[in-house]
């Protein structure tokens, strides 16, 4: 570990103090408003579900199909992203009135095991954000987003592989990452095995393969049984079209997967890589979180809800267990602190720009530096543009 200079230490102490003060202020305000927000959102989500499933079940023709699917999609997105992701952070553990929204009681309306998610996402990703070989989300699955990670031939196809195959079913693949099953795949297929990929510091079900499989099956069956068996069957048995319901639910499931993963992933910078010892100094840790994340501009509060307030990813990474709907309120103060200490507060102009920038990084690191050099030599006109592009 490199010792910090005293002036640096003083700066980090001041940063820590500023962010801690904001934290205390925000947490002191928690109360009925938060309970109202999450229970209200659950009601809204249920209303969308009722209308959507009703239209798909009893409606005829393309209009009711589209409208029904859209409503079910809104329900699934709200449940997966804004409710699920945030509740599992323990953002509503403070309120004894709503035990169903406590992180350990909560059951996700997604085919993802909650404990696996909490341990991988909360305990590792949020603590060691962008630390090489420590942040499992930086190299989620087989992803390569920096040159330090050993290259394999799989990375050549990472963009089409993820966009066309992984993303539409990503929710069904999270367990493999969270249970450590991807480690086994990489150990078998990658020449350098898991080098550069974060090891997991926990073992689910004591590593017993049978119990892990059971957990995996159970987390997926609750969604499969509902979306692909129960509702199509109900429609079929009552003389309506089971195929229509099945197809709509399949489409919605795929779109929800894409929506969730794209939103969560594109709001992270993949570089600069952070130092391993960030956690030793809380001020430095705060800075590392800001440097690792990027907000994006939302057209309105409603879209922020659909994005799970991940458009305020910086605030989320600073205070992961603060109820998400409070992020927009504290954003100006976070920006002010960043200005005061000359920390770059990054914000993309929109979700699509974020996605574009993120995919560009994926494309760049699909290749080794030598390959990129050769490709650039082959594309002389684009050389300057690509070289000047900021790695996001």
């Amino acid at each position: 570990m490199v010792a910090l200079h005293s002036s640096e230490l003083a700066r980090y102490a001041a940063i820590e103090d500023a962010f801690d003060r904001l934290k205390r202020q925000s947490y002191a305000q928690l109360g009925q408003r938060d309970i109202k927000y999450i229970t209200g959102l659950r009601k809204t989500s249920r209303a969308f579900e009722a209308v959507g499933r009703g239209l798909l079940w009893f409606g005829r023709g393309p209009f009711s199909f589209g409208a029904g699917a859209l409503c079910v999609l809104l329900h699934r997105i709200i449940e997966c992203v804004e409710i699920g992701h945030n509740v599992l952070h323990g953002q509503y553990d403070y309120f004894p009135e709503i035990p169903e929204f406590h992180s350990h009681n909560f059951r996700w309306k997604a085919p993802i095991d909650e404990e696996g998610w909490r341990r991988e996402h909360n305990d590792l990703h949020h603590v060691h954000t962008n630390v090489y070989a420590k942040d499992p989300d930086l190299t989620h699955g087989i992803l390569r987003v920096n040159d330090r990670l050993p290259w394999t031939k799989y990375h050549l196809f990472q963009v089409p592989l993820y966009l066309l195959w992984f993303y539409p079913f990503m929710m069904y693949k999270f367990n493999a990452q969270n249970f450590g099953l991807n480690q086994a795949f990489r150990a078998r297929h990658f020449p350098l095995g898991n080098e550069g990929y974060a090891p997991l510091n926990y073992s689910i079900e004591d590593g017993d393969p049978q119990r892990i499989q059971k957990r995996h099956r159970r987390s997926q069956w609750r969604i499969i049984a509902k979306e692909y068996i129960a509702f199509p069957l109900l429609a079929g048995l009552t003389g309506h079209s089971a195929v229509r319901v099945f197809l709509a639910n399949l489409g919605v499931d795929m779109l929800t997967s894409c929506w969730m993963t794209l939103t969560l992933q594109v709001s992270h910078f993949t570089q600069p890589l952070q130092e391993e010892n960030c956690l030793e100094n809380k001020g430095k840790w705060y800075v590392s979180q800001i440097e690792s994340t990027v907000n994006f501009k939302s057209p309105g509060r409603w879209m922020s809800v659909l994005w799970g307030h991940v458009d305020y990813q910086i605030e989320h990474h600073l205070y992961p267990d603060l109820p998400s709907h409070r992020y927009p309120d504290i954003a100006p103060e976070v920006q002010a602190i960043c200005r005061r200490f000359d920390i770059t507060y990054s914000r993309n102009p929109g979700w699509c720009v974020s996605i574009y920038r993120y995919l560009r990084v994926w494309t760049i690191y699909s290749f080794t530096p030598q390959m990129r050099k050769r490709i650039l030599a082959w594309l002389p006109g684009r050389r300057k543009r690509l070289k000047g592009a900021r790695d996001v």
Partner: protein, 389 residues
């Protein structure tokens, strides 16, 4: 497990209305069926994934985050002792014989918690045996008010007073201390004779009318258990002389310095101390001794002192950890991890919130927010601390 017929005449206090009786007749088998047929594991999966206002209202016994139990039967053991059969919901983890539960009971609007040993185990339910003490507010309230069909909240099972796998055991119990020992021996007798240890039981009561489970213990003799029953105030009524320092070695010739017997001891303080002295006099290796203490209720002994040697109950992990002097300055997270609990943990600096648990009882100091405790930055500061979800 075979259970004797319930007492012929219902206890005086038990007078359910016709409607209550009907409800009980209808609902009780359904609940038993759900637990037996589906199993608690599947029920938990089903209920936790379908938790909503409608399900919670329609069947609050199952659609709940709390461990609750329904009273299935009451049985009078003697004038002051009564047993209750409880059917716990899906949050129950099957106990080992000899363990105890902590029962919450509302008396005059205040919730009291008391520990009761499990006196008998069946596949789906268990029995607790409660002695009504003259000044016992809770025990008397349980006798009078806890009726068949009632729902109670509990915590557990807890305790390490369980069979340790020895080839031969000696069980010494007295008074109410018979309850965990009865369950322990009863469970061992369920095993095939080849897998069963040799068992020697000494049970002591003050008078025959104070005794419990005697008839059923007598039946153990048929299965090869060596049994001594003694009455301290009417020695002539018992089958065995009352234990004292002089006759200990005659009564228990097996308990010597080179003995490999496991000794299980439970009873009033005086009885336990007497046995301990006798064991020491025989140079019996005390690491082979299991003791169950009946401690005064935690809520009544409370200390404000910081760094108290608390008993920390990590409810979701079904573990209770008694802090030792060297644990005094450890955070709750360190305490749990050192005792092998697989607690969720992240930054260990109170930032990420991964280790948060909810405080259900007791007091902690350090980083908390409302009832939420950041285990990595918090310390126990009351005799008992209960943490849960």
């Amino acid at each position: 497990m075979s259970r004797p017929a319930t007492s012929k005449a219902p206890p005086q206090e038990f007078r359910p209305s016709a409607f209550q009786a009907l409800c009980h007749t209808l609902v009780s088998p359904l609940k038993r069926w759900a637990i037996q047929g589906l199993g608690r594991d599947r029920l938990e999966y089903l209920c936790s994934n379908t938790m909503n206002a409608v399900t919670q209202r329609s069947a609050p016994f199952f659609w709940t985050y709390e461990l609750k139990a329904r009273v299935l039967r009451r049985r009078r053991e003697n004038a002051s002792v009564m047993s209750f059969e409880l059917l716990p919901n899906q949050h129950w983890q099957m106990p080992q014989a000899g363990q105890y539960i902590e029962l919450s009971f509302d008396v005059d609007g205040q919730i009291y918690e008391r520990a009761y040993s499990i006196s008998e185990l069946t596949d789906t339910s268990f029995w607790i045996t409660v002695k009504a003490l003259p000044q016992g507010k809770i025990s008397n309230a349980l006798h009078q008010r806890l009726q068949v069909g009632d729902i109670v909240s509990l915590r557990g099972p807890r305790g390490r007073f369980v069979y340790g796998g020895q080839e031969a055991i000696t069980v010494l119990c007295a008074g109410s201390g018979v309850t965990p020992c009865f369950a322990l021996v009863q469970a061992l007798l369920q095993r095939s004779p080849a897998q069963r240890p040799r068992i020697h039981v000494y049970a002591q009561f003050s008078r025959p009318e104070e005794a419990i489970f005697v008839a059923r213990m007598q039946a153990w003799k048929n299965t090869g258990v060596q049994l001594n029953i003694a009455y301290s105030q009417q020695p002539e009524a018992g089958s065995s002389p009352v234990l004292n320092g002089d006759n200990f070695s005659q009564l228990f010739p097996e308990l010597t310095a080179s003995s490999t017997h496991g000794v299980y001891l439970c009873g009033p303080n005086g009885f336990q101390q007497g046995v301990m002295r006798a064991l020491e006099a025989q140079h019996f290796p005390l690491r082979q001794l299991w003791i169950e203490n009946f401690r005064p209720p935690h809520s009544e002994i409370h200390s404000e002192a910081q760094g108290t040697l608390a008993c920390v109950d990590f409810s979701p992990y079904h573990r209770q950890i008694q802090m030792r002097a060297e644990d005094r300055h450890k955070t709750l997270l360190e305490l749990g991890l050192e005792h092998g609990l697989d607690l969720e943990k992240g930054c260990r600096r109170g930032i990420c919130g991964s280790c948060k648990l909810v405080l259900h009882a007791g007091e902690v100091r350090g980083q908390t927010l409302g009832k939420v405790v950041y285990l990595c930055r918090a310390y126990a500061c009351s005799e008992k601390v209960v943490l849960g979800y």
